[in-house]
């Protein structure tokens, strides 16, 4: 996994041959899903999974590569959603400006990125628990501000009828187009994060995580690097936020309320923050629990409201058994299996 694998003696496999079979299977399943899954699964379960996965991915980038646990990612996503509603179209004609999509989309992403960068600039001088506290405090302030401000954010009711533009004559809120739209965005964000993690920027961020003092002694401006990481993560969160608003066709303060902010943390931690796939695993588990656990609970004669308890217990169990979430469990299982197969090399690990 070194930066540049030097050419080794012998025949180099093509990059396409190096992709493990499991990834091919996953790609096949995801691409053909509309053929065999119903609209509810496509739109509600998978669409939501990809969206929450992207927002949690932005946290994974900061926390996993940068060692910065930021609780502002959901607020950044909501900021992008709000800006889209304000600069684009919504049911609130007297606030929304009705700009064309090719203007309001970049504006929304840029403003959200600026917002995330400012929060980052405030947060990066703190460490550990203080980073969590300061980002949580700003997230709470953002929530109350959007709820009380009527001139820009339309207060309690927010914006409704915020829908995607009808590009290429497609209604992107139909289940199948929306599924492919969110899948495409998620795959791109995932690929970009994987790529950047091995580029100088991402590598240096991991250096900052491991040892900020040494990074400074190598000529890196650690503070600037951390802030830039917030900017990058904000763009990913903003894309997720825009899709989230399109999915719900509305945005309101609750979109980035404290429970939603915490949920993103839970998703990232449950999935695992050591690799970019973790947040998507966490998001799928979260969405499945939220979608189906009320039914299960009702079947046992319990109140459907208790699903939060289930999620909380699941969170506890994962954190307790594996500090690196489901990814960690998976890796442990794999190494145990390998050891059984080959005691000589396995013992080395």
């Amino acid at each position: 996994m070194a930066l540049a694998e030097r050419p080794r003696p012998g025949v180099q496999p093509l990059w396409i041959e190096r992709i493990p079979a499991a990834w091919w299977a996953l790609a096949l399943i995801l691409l053909t899903m509309p053929a065999w899954a119903n609209n509810f699964i496509l739109f509600q379960v998978m669409g939501w999974t990809f969206i929450l996965g992207m927002i949690a991915l932005s946290l994974m980038f900061l926390a996993g590569y940068g060692g910065m646990v930021s609780l502002i990612q959901m607020s950044v996503a909501a900021m992008a959603g709000y800006m889209m509603a304000i600069f684009g179209n919504s049911g609130m004609g007297d606030i929304s400006m009705g700009l064309p999509w090719w203007l309001y989309l970049p504006i929304a992403i840029v403003i959200a990125a600026i917002f995330g960068t400012i929060v980052g600039a405030l947060a990066v001088r703190t460490e550990g628990i203080y980073t969590i506290m300061i980002t949580l405090a700003i997230a709470a302030a953002f929530f109350y501000f959007t709820r009380q401000n009527y001139t820009i954010f339309n207060g309690y009711s927010g914006f409704n009828l915020v829908v995607p533009p009808e590009l290429f004559g497609v209604d992107w809120r139909q289940p199948m187009p929306f599924y492919y739209l969110t899948l495409g965005c998620a795959v791109i964000c995932y690929a970009v994060v994987v790529y950047v993690s091995r580029a100088p920027f991402g590598l240096a961020l991991q250096g900052v995580r491991d040892n900020p003092r040494r990074m400074a002694a190598l000529g890196f401006n650690v503070t600037a690097h951390r802030i830039a990481a917030y900017t990058f993560a904000s763009v990913i969160a903003a894309i997720g936020g825009i899709l989230l608003v399109w999915q719900n066709a509305q945005i309101a303060p609750g979109t980035a309320g404290i429970p939603a902010v915490i949920d993103i943390l839970v998703i990232a931690v449950v999935g695992g923050i050591s690799r970019p796939i973790g947040p998507f695993i966490g998001a799928l588990i979260y969405v499945l629990l939220r979608t189906f656990s009320p039914d299960v609970l009702l079947a046992f004669g319990l109140s459907g409201e208790r699903f939060k308890l289930l999620i909380g217990l699941g969170f506890l169990a994962v954190v307790f058994f594996s500090p690196d979430g489901v990814l960690g469990l998976w890796e442990r299982w794999k190494s145990r299996r390998d050891r059984r197969r080959d005691p000589l090399t396995g013992a080395d690990e």
Binding site: M1, A2, L3, A4, R6, P7, Y195, V196, R198, A199, P200, F201, L203, A204, Q206, G207, R209, D210, N211, R213, R214, M215, A216, A217, L218, G219, F220, N221, V222, H225, A228
Partner: protein
């Protein structure tokens, strides 16, 4: 293979005359404790200096003040004539200063190659690049040369956490040689090395191009005298003696204070 890049001619122009390092009245307080007090010290460009002194004499603190790991409580530090007293560490490093740490400070989650690549990247442009380096990237080649120079090639793709102590010490040195250093601070690079590794270290130090000066903290007189042309003795946060290795070795006071107490 040259161990360290020759700096470009324009850079050398400003180096060849004047001093690499000038400290005037540098003091660092930790609470009420003066770890170093009123240190005045000049190191010429290309000079190789050893700093000796018993435990707690303030040698590492001196390095920390020079590199900007800590800001000194008072005093001025000039690097190649420029007052860097208030500069952050990275600005000083970009001006040609390098250092190693007494207790290895490496990136444990990354491989040897990535560690050295980061060091090379830190003193060049493109620190924020979002593009992965190409196979023939000059910095990658450079990093491989440095890894080779400290005999770590077989462990190129090994995570630092899995290296032996001696190997981590070698890697420390590779990181300090990245880019175009003009003055390097070595903090006890030989501590804990085997005799073979020690002679390799001496060979590396003596093989550095002439325009690169360094200051080396070293308890082992044997190593210190083989790699340094001048010596500074520190004691209780003060500069106690300065001179050539012979003068220091034969100095009565130094012998009583340092060599006499059975050290090494």
């Amino acid at each position: 293979m040259t161990l360290v890049e020759d700096s470009s001619a324009d850079r050398l122009g400003s180096v060849s005359s004047g001093n690499a390092l000038e400290l005037r009245g540098v003091t660092k307080m930790f609470g009420a404790l003066a770890a170093i007090s009123d240190i005045t010290l000049t190191v010429a460009s290309g000079e190789r200096r050893a700093v000796l002194g018993s435990n707690g004499a303030g040698k590492t603190t001196l390095f920390n003040c020079v590199t900007g790991d800590f800001l000194p409580t008072s005093g001025t530090i000039r690097l190649f004539g420029e007052d860097v007293s208030r500069f952050p560490a990275y600005e000083r490093i970009r001006r040609g200063l390098r250092r190693t740490y007494q207790i290895s400070l490496l990136f444990n989650g990354l491989t040897v190659a990535d560690n050295v690549y980061l060091a090379c990247r830190g003193v060049s442009r493109g620190r924020f690049s979002f593009l992965r380096p190409r196979e023939n990237d000059a910095l990658l080649t450079r990093a491989d040369e440095l890894i080779e120079a400290v005999h770590l090639s077989p462990w190129r793709d090994t995570a630092v956490a899995n290296l032996s102590y001696g190997q981590q010490r070698q890697l420390e040195i590779a990181l300090a040689l990245a880019g175009a250093p003009r003055i390097i601070l070595f903090d006890e690079p030989a501590a804990g090395l085997s005799p073979t590794e020690r002679s390799e270290l001496v060979a590396i130090l003596n093989g550095l191009p002439g325009h690169i000066g360094y200051i080396i903290i070293e308890h082992d007189m044997d190593v210190a005298l083989r790699v340094a042309e001048s010596v500074t003795m520190m004691h209780n946060g003060l500069v106690f003696k300065e001179g050539t290795p012979e003068e220091i070795e034969n100095d009565q006071e130094v012998q009583e204070l340092y060599l006499g107490d059975g050290h090494e």
